[in-house]
Symmetry: C2
Subunit: 124 residues, 2 copies
């Protein structure tokens, strides 16, 4: 397993590299929401439960800085900022889908119940 440097951090394998780009608690939920629509900062904030202002802004900065999302600022008062997904972000969403499906599978094995309106969702 080769090791390498990126942004002054030492990585031991490609998995770690990938997870540093799109992992953590919040990046996937953000990308997931932007996968098929443009959203404003406030919309994301309202839509992602429990995320704090600080985490949302910092994670958006990182995702933007590494090209997974793009940010458009409208010079109006009050400010309006829209976030949208990029090609690179769309590619990431494919991987997120795989992990998500696996997560659902694991939850079943571990008998975890998503308390919310766990209606019968066939397929997907």
């Amino acid at each position: 397993m080769p090791e390498f440097l990126f942004n002054k951090k030492l990585y031991y394998n490609p998995v770690e590299f990938a997870m540093d780009r799109i992992g953590g608690t919040w990046k996937m939920p953000i990308l997931w929401r932007l996968k098929d629509k443009i959203m404003r900062y406030g919309e994301l904030k309202k839509d992602i439960p429990h995320i704090t202002h600080k985490m949302l802004t910092s994670q958006l900065r990182e995702l933007e800085g590494e090209g997974f999302i793009s940010r458009e600022v409208y010079p109006v008062v009050p400010p309006k900022v829209e976030y949208s997904i990029t090609k690179r972000g769309e590619r990431a969403v494919l991987v997120i889908n795989t992990i998500r499906d696996y997560g659902l599978e694991l939850m079943k094995e571990f008998q975890v119940e998503h308390s919310k309106i766990a209606k019968h969702r066939k397929g997907k």
Copy 2:
């Protein structure tokens, strides 16, 4: 996105749940090594660069406790303990493969060199 509890921790989505089971810096490297062979504690320790005693033992405990690997203790002196992958662990390796492939793809995009030979860098 539903939220739910598992082991007294609150999760917001299936991705987070999956990554808590097999994510972190060391779990994937461990599973990866056990995917096609049984290994002793000391072998894993020597084989995984930079992992500390504390991290290796704690991660092995968690992986075992959640059924991704199994642990066999031989009642001899000095102790001999062998770790092997389970069916659940093998399923996880499939996902790890996907993430790994994606990681390699990303590394290429970001022009990361993963040669073991050091390259000239500006800073350090």
